[in-house]
Assembly symmetry: C2
Homo-oligomer: 153 residues x 2
């Protein structure tokens, strides 16, 4: 497995849900994301627990957004997923006895901490509404392109 793509996945799902009225089933979302309903349920479980989405069983069941898109940021989503590790790089030993390794760890830890802080700040500024708006813009551009192609024929 190359990288953890859960954040990307749930954002994709949330935006599809936002663009649809009514609940979407795990199967429908799985189809959008070229994966499997069980993976969707498992990945979305954290968001449900955080109160960001709701899920309902039975006929007309499925997933619904339960939050204000303007109020929820990528940082909230990352937290709802259990704050998965950001970096693929890390120290060899967490608490080494060797003074050399302590010096190396201290430098790396400081750097990664600072960089992670910036990432979380950026995540904290990006709302779901902004992503949805970006999508709307892309959709409009896409329609415009289609229309101009038809006119050219």
């Amino acid at each position: 497995m190359k990288r953890d793509s859960r954040l990307s996945s749930v954002l994709h799902a949330l935006l599809h849900m936002a663009a649809n009225d009514g609940p979407m089933t795990s199967e429908a979302l799985a189809h959008c994301m070229h994966t499997n309903p069980v993976v969707v349920r498992r990945t979305m479980a954290g968001l449900r627990q955080a109160g960001l989405v709701r899920s309902e069983k039975g006929h007309n069941g499925g997933w619904t957004i339960a939050c204000d898109l303007n109020a929820v940021t990528l940082r909230d989503i990352h937290a709802a997923l259990g704050e998965p590790a950001v970096f693929a790089i890390g120290n060899r030993n967490a608490a080494p006895e060797c003074l050399v390794e302590q010096a190396v760890n201290a430098a790396l830890d400081d750097t990664f901490r600072e960089v992670e802080t910036l990432l979380m700040e950026r995540f904290g500024r990006l709302t779901l509404a902004q992503l949805a708006e970006d999508f709307t813009g892309r959709l409009a551009a896409h329609h415009e392109k289609i229309r101009s192609q038809q006119n050219a024929v």
Copy 2:
């Protein structure tokens, strides 16, 4: 494997080499790092290719630093290792057709690009000499602590 610790490993090795005069064998380094000589050779191969270290066979062989500690930064080391992936988080699909996913990817890509730039800048400011100096300070503090403990008895 939880995380890629090669950067941490080679820094550890380099600082041990800097504190020793004469070459250090892969076995000695492996002992310091609680690993295996073959792993040391494999990990250090990139540094040798980049001209940062030298290795020699036979009696009195082993690894030697071949660069100016003041001139080499963590960024150089990271490059010498082949620029391993920094983030454990990423997009699900690199070039999706879905406009929703494109919007998500664009936002994440921008953010990660910015953050990676900061990380590389920080790495570019951290020299091996600075790490070595930090180690020297820790060593002095350690000796001071030992001495005061002996005085107390």
